[in-house]
């Protein structure tokens, strides 16, 4: 049996590790994420884990987020003291095997503003410093992208650029710099129709002379 404190002390690290360890940058959808976590927890009760882990992430934020940044999940968990015992059903055994870890030193959100034959230019908002405007801009090599990202890149494509240290279970340490194209959601008919409906309503309510 696991008590709440044990769960908390493992959950931050494990979630963080699970997000990065063994996962490619592509595996960023919520279902792939909790499947990985469930494996780490050696538990087949995926639905229970899903319901318990993600209830701390508000639905409003959740639906807009196509992937999770480890820090955000860790923050949610770290602050959800009163919900610790609710996070995981009792009886789940947490794997004690060592995992690689990744600590983020610097993170930007960027969007592509131009593409040439060999490079692309992006504007960058510094997430680490909680900036709200794009203070910086840089050129990147297209060759540094994953093949699938290189094929998919277009003006307006959004990505995260993350710099940090990866530590292997054996203790080796690498400094990594990764451009992670957001696995952004696709446009859904329901959402498009809702926006059209809301637009009609808003247009009616505007007083234009």
């Amino acid at each position: 049996m696991i008590d709440g404190n044990t769960v908390l002390s493992h959950s931050e690290e494990t979630l963080s590790l699970s997000w990065q360890s063994g996962m490619t940058e592509k595996q960023s959808s919520k279902f792939e994420l909790y499947e990985e976590i469930a494996k780490d927890f050696s538990c087949s009760k995926e639905e229970e884990i899903h319901n318990n882990i993600f209830h701390t992430v508000s639905d409003e934020n959740y639906d807009d987020m196509s992937y999770f940044v480890p820090g955000e999940i860790c923050d949610n968990l770290a602050h959800a003291d009163s919900k610790v015992t609710d996070l995981f059903p009792k009886g789940i055994r947490i794997s004690q095997e060592p995992h690689p870890s990744f600590s983020v030193l610097q993170e930007w959100e960027g969007y592509v503003i131009s593409i040439s034959d060999t490079t692309f230019t992006a504007r960058l908002t510094d997430i680490t410093k909680s900036h709200e405007i794009e203070h910086e801009e840089a050129d990147f090599l297209l060759d540094d992208l994953e093949d699938s990202d290189r094929r998919a890149i277009s003006l307006g494509t959004i990505f995260r650029w993350i710099i940090g240290y990866r530590r292997s279970p054996g203790g080796t340490k690498d400094r990594l710099s990764r451009i992670v194209f957001r696995n952004v959601p696709i446009w859904k008919e329901k959402e498009l129709n809702k926006n059209k409906h809301d637009a009609i309503e808003m247009a009616k309510q505007l007083n234009v002379e």
């Binding site: 405007i133 959004i158 637009a199 505007l206």
Partner: protein
Amino acid sequence: MMNLSQPDPDQIEFILFGPGYGECAMIHLGENQWIIVDSCLNKKTGKPAALDYFQSIGTPPEEAVKLIVISHWHDDHIRGLSDIVLSCPKTSICCSSALTKEDFIAHILHYKNIMLKNASSGVKEITKILEISKDRPQIPIKRAIANRLVLDLPLQGTAHSCKVTTLSPSDKEFDNFLKEIGSLVPVKGRKKTRAPSLEPNDTSVAIWIEVGDVKLLLGSDLEEKNSPLSGWCAIVKSKERPEGKASVFKIPHHGSLTGHNDNVWSDMVIQSPFAILSPFRNAGTILPMTHDVSRILGLTSNSYITTRHPAPRSNVHRSPSVERSIKETVVGKIRATLPPMGWVSLRNGGRANPNSWNIQLSDSGSHLKNFYDKFGGHNT
């Protein structure tokens, strides 16, 4: 930052701020009455330049601002405008009516939440502005169309009479804009991206302002289309536009050739007017280009730009580990997207000397001839 005092009650002032993901023009009509056109963010304070200016001259905006004009809705003209609108609860907004149509509103709702929630963007600004307006039905939005008088203030005390006339968009531009918006409707099943740019800007609102006997022409981002039905051609040829010639000209589209029309210079502005502009930078493109600078200086030597600095290298300090990784990843160096925001202020001699102008510049502002001093002929 802005070491300017409040203008005299009978003084007319035109002040242009930029860049700052946008530009912002403010016109003092006398007696602390103002018009604001567009908005930009002061990079240092993170606040709209207009609100910073009001604060520095000790003017509360809520009673002072008589009209807010959205001359262009996209990123480079309206960052921070929603904060200005919120600060002026009794002030009318004027914009192209295309921005109030359901097709356009659907467009901005589609793209509203693509980026980080706390990051500003033109789409978010215009969405907020429309939401604020929806909640203030007693303050109508004034439609900007060709040759429409949108503000008419009588002479009052030391305040001058003031007429503001929108010169665009034309019917054709209105239709073109909605067609283009229609072509950008997201397709079900495709991945989301940031809101695409719309070029040319068919909702650009060029404005003619008469304050007493002084006339000002604000060119927004209106571009020349070589069509009698749109762009500057349509405006110059219009028999319904206000008469007279402007002594102050806010150069359209950051001085680019696409915003130039010879007939505007011959028919709508005096010889050697005061020409003011702010630069623009996007990826490798900088406006005005060197040939634009030469062209404008050939038309008037009274040309000023809000900032002469190129976007410098980013001065954000980070740990050596991060700096090392940046060096390994980035081609060249990380640049600051924006140079420091600057301003150019023109104040006249009041009723006694309405045509005598005093120019003041921010530290980074300069005469246009000095704009490329640091570039050394870049971007020819």
